[in-house]
């Protein structure tokens, strides 16, 4: 960039020549999503058996998984800039607000994708690198470009992209995929639909306005409420069942039982509520369910972490 632009440059995004800051580019990486990715991937690394990685290698692996996740976020923002501008929740993102050009976002996303995959491969093993590459492809192409605008199952299938980080962390240490890694993947995969459908219930005008075929739009809000309950039941069975595997233990079981009891109770309430009830209290139960879903995931992976650092054999071995 040359100083020639100085003559017309100003300080606000509403003008033609806004000067993007470092923070604007960082916002393209969806830092809040990255923090969840870092946490679940870290648990995947710590829960993996064997001597593990050297701390420097583990840190680097975690960093490159996070950068890969951020890169897929930038690609998602590049592709979805048109609908992001329509939705209230996303209208202030860097591209729709005019702070970063779509071209810059694309270049940043592609560059960081390449860097993160190559570096994870070199730091750990080829399978971890390949899984990260597949995750980026799945989120940017399969979910963002294909599923999101074409099917109400977008969240169900697309949720796989967010479920890969703990598996990648595990594979970075062990070099192979195991039942435990698949269980951690499944936990996030089954958690994603109720989490997003609850959001869709109280942010309904957003998805309607953008023409995104969320379940609330295509099948109605009553059906969405039933789907939330059905997926929560399946999730609860999976989450509690995982207590009796290699990643579980007594601490995890206690956490899973309590958290899933609360989650099931709220899902049942959501399924029983009418739209009039929800409107009357401004979607109090739906909002509460959504907020708790974030804590739910944190608690489960936190418990897996605790079990990983506890002395071996604390559970007594169901399996």
């Amino acid at each position: 960039m040359t100083d020639a632009s100085l003559h017309i440059a100003t300080g606000g995004p509403e003008t033609a020549e806004y000067e993007p800051t470092f923070g604007d580019y960082f916002a393209l990486l969806k830092p809040r999503v990255m923090s969840l990715v870092v946490f679940t991937a870290l648990v995947g690394i710590l829960a993996a058996p064997s001597a593990g990685l050297h701390p420097v290698e583990a840190f680097a692996a975690l960093l490159f998984i996070a950068i890969g996740a951020g890169a897929s976020g930038a690609l998602n923002m590049w592709w979805d800039a048109d609908i992001d501008g329509v939705m209230k929740r996303t209208a202030k993102r860097p591209i729709p607000s005019g702070r970063v050009t779509p071209k810059d976002a694309l270049h940043l996303g592609l560059g960081l994708s390449l860097l993160s995959v190559m570096m994870l491969w070199l730091t750990t093993n080829w399978l971890a690198g390949a899984l990260l590459a597949f995750t980026i492809f799945f989120y940017a192409v399969v979910y963002s470009m294909w599923l999101k605008r074409s099917t109400p199952q977008n969240i169900v299938i697309g949720g796989a992209a967010g479920a890969f980080p703990p598996m990648i962390g595990w594979v970075a240490v062990t070099g192979s995929v195991s039942v435990e890694a698949v269980l951690m993947f499944a936990l996030i995969f089954m958690w994603t639909p109720p989490h997003f459908w609850a959001l869709a219930l109280f942010m309904r005008s957003d998805y309607d306005d953008a023409g995104v075929p969320m379940l609330t739009v295509t099948h109605g809000r009553r059906a969405t409420r039933r789907h939330i309950l059905a997926y929560t039941v399946l999730l609860a069975a999976l989450a509690v069942g995982a207590a009796f595997t290699g990643i579980g233990g007594p601490v995890y079981l206690a956490v899973a039982v309590i958290a899933n009891a609360i989650f099931l109770r709220d899902a049942f309430r959501i399924s029983r509520r009418s739209e009039a009830d929800a409107e009357a209290d401004n979607f109090r139960v739906e909002r509460s369910f959504f907020r708790f879903s974030l804590l739910y995931l944190f608690l489960h992976f936190g418990a897996i972490w605790v079990e990983a650092v506890l002395p071996q054999g604390a559970w007594g071995g169901f399996f």
Binding site: G11, V56, T123
Partner: protein, 63 residues
């Protein structure tokens, strides 16, 4: 807003962005160096011919 203020604001933003990029690059270099040291240590002790042929490193015939 005067011309001086505009250019000053732009320069401040560019400086902060450049510093951010510089910090990332320096961090990446440090990480690469640390990773290299770890990988070399994990590889274990290596011996080579260096500048002089060392007979003990040559493969034994018939083995």
């Amino acid at each position: 807003m005067s011309f001086e203020n505009v250019t000053s604001d732009v320069h401040i933003k560019r400086r902060s962005r450049n510093l951010g990029v510089a910090a990332c690059l320096v961090g990446f270099m440090v990480l690469l160096f640390a990773l290299t040291m770890v990988k070399v240590q994990e590889t274990g002790a290596n011996q080579g011919f260096d500048h002089v042929v060392r007979p003990e490193l040559l493969p034994v015939e018939g083995s």
